[in-house]
Amino acid sequence: MLFNSLSYFFFLPVVAVILYLIPGRYQWFWLLACSTFFYYTLLPVFLILFFTLILSNYYLGIVIESSESKRNSIFIFGVCINIIVLAFFKYYGFFQSLFTDIKKLSVNDHLLKIFLPVGLSFFIFTILSYLIEVKRGTIKAERHIGIFASSLLFFPKIMQGPIEKSGNIFPQFREVKSFNYDMIVEGLKLMIWGYFKKLVIADRLAIYVNAVYDNYEHHSGISLLVATIFYSFQIYADFSGYTDIALGSAKILGFNLTNNFNRPYFSTSIKEFWNRWHITLSLWLRDYLFLPLAVTFAWKMKEIKYFGLASEKWIFMFATIITFVVCGIWHGEGLNFLIWGLLFGIYMTIANWTLGFNKKLRKRIGISKQSAFYKVYGILITFMLVTFAWIFFRARNITDAFLIIKKIYLFSGTLYIGEMRRLLICIAEIIFLIIIEMRSEYFGHLTFPFKKSIWFQEQIVYAFLVILILLLGVFDGGQFLYFQF
């Protein structure tokens, strides 16, 4: 069952109605049963894996908290076990392809087929966050196995996050959930906007992007450039659309999940971009990888200049590059993902190293950081850099990515239009998205882009969105892009 399937429209109300009817102390059980059923409809066999991980990490958390002498070694053991499980499923395909090449076997051979369980990466990162927080003593180990299991398997977030911190999600499962009209309406509004982004924008852009990227050999540089720009909006609409549906579903059930997106394409720098894009992953990487790495390097390095640069600059570089390489590898096993991560590491390092130079330059030409010109310039540069990085993310492999870049650089040939009307619709959708986001960004409607003071106007806007979904939505567009991660 996917969020964009009709079964979900029957599933969610049933879950909500029964949730509000049953006594508070049994609500976790109902949610656990529903989440199990939800995952069962996706990949039933992997429920065994998920429940094994839940059980083992439940006990690991308790042991880490209660053990004094072996706390560190148990913690390291727990982290390693989780990472090994993730790595096995995540990188099996990579080794499989090597193996099939060597043995001349087909990838369709039954024994070689192992899929990455949907949501495993998000699941393991949530668990690692839990173990780290327990080890640090910032949260208590969860003693109620039902709440532990139901919060980890919670169906609105199991597939693509958000990667919730235990301190935020566990207490919500202890609360008694009762019918809250305002929260349900908010949830529905978020869901409508999410479906619009997914079905109308992302899936329609995907038609052009897939047509060009899947046969890039036949397409010109200009077509590849347009497809790459479209992909920037496609992946944003897809993933943020998913997040809105997840957050909306959770709200209907009385839960507040963390928002993952904050209009990232209005960022004026790469650093800001990562504060607005996939926020829960960025926070995870910052808290559990970047900061510990930076602290470790700071201990090891003396406070002197190396090659004319202060030690903190080097520390920032090492920690940033390692963090983003891990981020890249987390997304996929191919070299292209590694380069994608590395690129962001390099962007961030250059930005950090040239902070002083930029300040001087701004002073010399008399441009304030707050000026509209500087902001527009920053937004455009950031968008271009991010879009360039998306080439590595979208391409099938590293060779394809470089060939695509070469073609874009040569900029030859004519634009693939397919059907002019469809291309125009794609452009209109992007403009519509930008206008709506701009309204939220600069005019203060932060969560709900269509907030109106007159309720009837708001009703009309949301009804209009529903009609547009029925009219322009791609209903056979398939799954969400981030499923593969």
Partner: protein
């Protein structure tokens, strides 16, 4: 005092609940009214198109009464020149092929609708196999606007999804995939000749991806027959027999550089051939025809003939049909 407070609170709660119910009802009302109104307008526009693909499909299903009808996907639409077939067989001919990688279920739906109205003399079916492929059922969306008009194809449309019946409660949904084509402003409509649309470009052989010399047995094995598609094939044959229509199932040429690269048959292909032979249907396989091997100048891409190739192929098809006709005892 307490009583007043209770009444006041009760009234406030009641008012709040009434206002909530009103808001919900208004929202549903706006959606339903817009859906029905817009759906009605789109339906009018859809069934009154006077050119383009929608017009062709409407015409084939409701008006066409040609002696020879050609069915199938884009390969049918671009490979069978109606003018050549018409002249060679001395019969009226219309190409009802449709772009879009359709499975055999789509021509079956077309034939089912048409056969209610009249019986053509010859049906040429460009064969697309009976194995499922990505998007095969999704592409039946082309039939959605006809759901209400032709009850006989409803079970076929419902194969798309088990919730299709519910989705079709919306009046807009049937036109979802077509809305851009309906509001087309009449630009860039390709010229067609009784449904046949020639492709003008020539295959650039340098752009072809290198393909493995031997198609791996294990990959071929995965192409198993799809029950619905097998049923569609059997039903087409049965329907043609019952209406006394001469059915020709044809696989048109693909581009190959060497002729001896015949891949082993998939289970789906074996099943389809078994049905065809068992029912003694005329089957012509041009997929590896030596005449076309290596002639990239006759192809628009790897699986589509261009205008020149279609001309040669259409002549070959008519020759074969005439040969069959001579062999057939009256």
């Amino acid at each position: 005092m307490e009583g007043n407070f209770f009444i006041f609170n009760f009234k406030t709660i009641m008012n709040r609940n009434i206002s909530r119910v009103i808001k919900i009802v208004v929202f549903i009302f706006i959606v339903v009214i817009t859906d029905k109104g817009l759906g009605h307008i789109l339906s009018k526009l859809y069934f009154n198109q006077n050119e383009g693909e929608i017009h062709t499909l409407n015409y084939v299903l409701s008006e066409c009464n040609a002696d020879v009808l050609i069915f199938g996907n884009s390969r049918a639409q671009h490979h069978y020149d109606s003018r050549i077939i018409k002249a060679a067989l001395n019969m009226s001919c219309y190409n009802a092929g449709e772009d879009g990688g359709h499975s055999i279920i789509f021509p079956y739906a077309q034939i089912k609708i048409i056969s209610e109205r009249y019986s053509p003399k010859i049906i040429i079916l460009e064969f697309s196999g009976v194995n499922d492929f990505p998007g095969a059922y999704d592409r039946l969306s082309i039939l959605l606007p006809y759901y209400k008009k032709y009850p006989e194809i409803r079970p076929l449309i419902r194969l798309r999804n088990r919730f299709e019946r519910i989705k079709l409660m919306s009046s807009i949904y049937p036109f979802n995939s077509n809305v851009i084509d309906i509001i087309r402003f009449h630009t860039n409509i390709p010229e067609d000749f009784d449904g046949y649309i020639p492709l003008k470009k020539i295959l650039d052989i340098d752009l072809l991806k290198p393909e493995p010399e031997i198609v791996r047995q294990s990959e071929i094995r995965t192409l198993v027959a799809d029950t619905n598609m097998v049923n569609a094939l059997e039903n087409i044959i049965r329907l043609c027999k019952s209406k006394n229509i001469s059915l020709f199932i044809i696989t048109s040429p693909n581009f190959h550089t060497v002729n001896d690269k015949q891949s082993p048959l998939s289970p789906a292909a074996e099943r389809a051939l078994d049905i065809i032979h068992r029912n003694q249907v005329n089957y012509l396989d041009f997929s590896f025809n030596p005449v076309f091997v290596g002639h990239s100048e006759w192809f628009a891409d790897k699986v589509h003939l261009n205008e020149e190739g279609a001309k040669i192929f259409s002549n070959m098809v008519t020759d074969s049909i005439r040969t069959y006709a001579k062999m057939k005892p009256n």
